[in-house]
């Protein structure tokens, strides 16, 4: 790849080789490689059904791959479940949000990490500090500039964007070592999306790397340090946004262009490439 030669690469935070996942006769991950470097925002892009969600589910312990190896800070690791990944500081916003619909915003935000009252009320009676959780939730939601009817609303009664904001705020709040976001702005408005990009930047600035799955190319180009292009269940290319135009990246994603070993591109599908408006590589 174009950028593989120059600088000495630091050890990846999270990486994988040859991941495979089959569902009956559908192959969702087909020998995928993956690499996330410290402090970077890595965008993962690809067509619908390319296997992006499956890939990050495998990386975050939410599904067990049929084959392949995952490494965290260079050590091979097998997550027994999402909890273990989380214990290693990996925080994820899943595409289907993984919220409890009948519970309210604060309860969802702190699910699995509730705050207890100080003193014996908390230690002996294990009493929740509902006020504190409500207060902090309100702050997190405010940071995303999401309008809300009531913090006590059950999540199932929220608008699509409000619901997504809850999941995003939750992951951001708990970020420690890696943050993974599967299409976090899909349901968000212009202003709210901008806030999420800001949030991602703030997380990155704390030195925490972020994996961002998104179909929104302007967002990707605005924020990503590197782009992982996923296609047909595997990584097709790993590039820097500065080296390619948006049209080229889209062409790689759809298979019109291929990235050669030296980082150049070749047209693999003439018709598609010209339809995508890409010059010959």
């Amino acid at each position: 790849m174009k950028d593989s030669a120059p600088e000495k690469k630091p050890e990846p935070v999270l990486s994988a080789r040859g991941l495979v996942k089959r569902y009956g006769h559908v192959t969702a991950i087909d020998g995928a490689d993956f690499e996330l470097l410290p402090g970077e925002v890595l965008a993962v892009i690809g067509d619908n059904g390319a296997g992006k969600t499956s890939l990050i589910k495998a990386l975050t312990g939410a599904l067990v791959p049929d084959a392949g190896e995952i490494r965290l800070h260079g050590e091979p690791i097998r997550f027994s479940g999402p909890l273990e990944a989380r214990r290693h500081g990996i925080e994820t916003v899943y595409q289907d949000l993984a919220v409890a619909p009948s519970m309210d915003i604060a309860a969802n935000m702190f699910l699995g990490r509730e705050i207890r009252r100080a003193g014996p009320l908390g230690t002996v009676f294990r009493m929740l500090d509902k006020k504190a959780m409500r207060r902090e939730s309100a702050d997190y939601m405010a940071a995303l500039q999401i309008r809300l009817g009531s913090l006590g609303q059950a999540v199932e009664t929220l608008s699509g964007g409000q619901r997504q904001a809850v999941a995003v705020a939750r992951a951001a709040a708990w970020a420690r070592s890696v943050v993974v976001m599967d299409e976090p702005t899909a349901a968000l408005g212009v202003k709210e999306s901008a806030q999420v990009l800001d949030l991602i930047r703030r997380v990155r600035d704390k030195g925490i790397p972020v994996i961002l799955i998104s179909h929104n190319m302007p967002h990707v180009f605005e924020i990503a340090d590197r782009i992982h292009v996923h296609r047909l269940g595997r990584r097709e290319a790993l590039i820097k946004p500065a080296d390619y135009s948006m049209a080229e990246v889209v062409a790689i994603m759809t298979g019109a262009l291929s990235v050669t070993a030296d980082g150049g591109t070749v047209v693999s599908d003439d018709e598609a490439a010209s339809a995508a408006g890409v010059r010959r590589g």
């Binding site: 939410a62 699910l111 294990r126 929740l128 702050d139 009817g149």
Partner: protein, 331 residues
């Protein structure tokens, strides 16, 4: 300015009054009050402290079972075995103390532990195989039923030592005699109301019932939680066994046969959804009381048993209709 214009840090929260009106147990409670008013008007004996204490005492066994049942239903499960587990616990308790000479308190603890063991097995099967709770507990219903009859040889155990019947004794509260057992049941309801509403564990129970997969993705230890819930339910059935024995004064192998359906009925009457994740244990308490009040009131009115059944059928439907209608306004 409408509420939707507010920023999140200044959101309007419902008033206390509104919260009371929209509390999940408000509908069932309204039905309970209506039924009580009806029976007070139609019979002289209904409205008295003594009669209320009696009703409480009559529902304490099924009420205690219904606590465990609520926990399991909140996880989107169901427990068909609760009555059978309790019956086994009761016989075990009685036979250990009477026939095997085990010290009464130890017998009590052992029986409760064994009931917890049944719950544990249920939980393991539900979560680890995994199997549908309906089937697991149906199987366990048969197993516990058979074990009860094999172990007891169908013999009612009498002559129980004092500690086994202590909870059946009464103490005066004002001018009314109240059994200690009723108090224990009410206490358990409060403890579980607190645990479900005031602790992280309770929230996890609800989250599990909302969606086991979301709960898992949220980092909740779903396996441990599920198995724990079934085990706790089993322990609670063990307490119900003690209450049963102390109420009837015997170890009865025939006990517990209608309590499975009765406990589920109480839970559903109390407004808990059979699909999990929605409901309260205090609602269950109200549901249990509704059933107790119906039975007591109808018998006091002298309705003959077949007609009692008929009227109960109609009233059960009416009670939940009241609940539904009381909610319509707030939707």
């Amino acid at each position: 300015m409408t509420a939707s214009t507010m920023t999140p840090t200044a959101v309007k929260e419902p008033t206390a009054a509104r919260r009371l009106l929209t509390a999940p147990a408000a509908g069932p409670f309204a039905a309970l009050v209506l039924a009580s008013v009806f029976f007070s008007l139609s019979t002289d004996q209904f409205l008295s402290g003594g009669n209320f204490s009696l009703i409480l005492q009559q529902v304490m066994v099924v009420g205690t079972l219904a606590i465990g049942q609520t926990l399991i239903i909140l996880t989107a499960g169901i427990d068909l075995a609760c009555g059978a587990i309790m019956a086994f616990g009761g016989i075990l308790l009685a036979k250990l103390a009477v026939n095997s000479g085990v010290p009464p308190v130890l017998a009590i603890l052992l029986a409760i532990a064994v009931c917890g063991g049944f719950g544990l097995v249920n939980g393991l099967l539900v979560r680890l195989v995994p199997l549908p709770p309906f089937i697991v507990t149906l199987g366990m219903l048969n197993i516990a039923f058979a074990l009860t009859h094999i172990y007891s040889d169908e013999q009612t155990v009498t002559g129980l030592p004092g500690p086994l019947t202590a909870l059946g004794k009464t103490f005066p509260l004002g001018r009314t005699d109240v059994t200690y057992g009723s108090l224990l049941t009410v206490g358990l309801f409060l403890v579980f109301a607190y645990a479900l509403n005031g602790t992280a564990w309770g929230r996890h129970v609800y989250a599990l019932g909302n969606s086991a997969e979301s709960a898992r993705l949220s980092g909740i230890r779903v396996t441990r939680l599920t198995i724990g819930i079934y085990t706790v339910a089993g322990l609670v059935y063990g307490v119900a066994a003690l209450l049963l024995v102390s109420r009837t004064g015997v170890g009865d192998p025939q006990a517990g046969q209608t309590e499975n359906l009765d406990s589920i009925t109480a839970v559903v009457l109390g407004g808990t959804s059979l699909f999990g994740g929605r409901g309260t244990v205090l609602g269950t308490f109200v549901g249990v009381l509704i059933v107790g009040v119906f039975r007591n009131g109808l018998q006091l009115m002298g309705v003959s048993s077949v007609y009692q059944t008929l009227v109960t059928g109609v009233l059960v439907i009416l009670a939940v209709t009241v609940d539904q209608l009381s909610r319509k306004g707030t939707r």
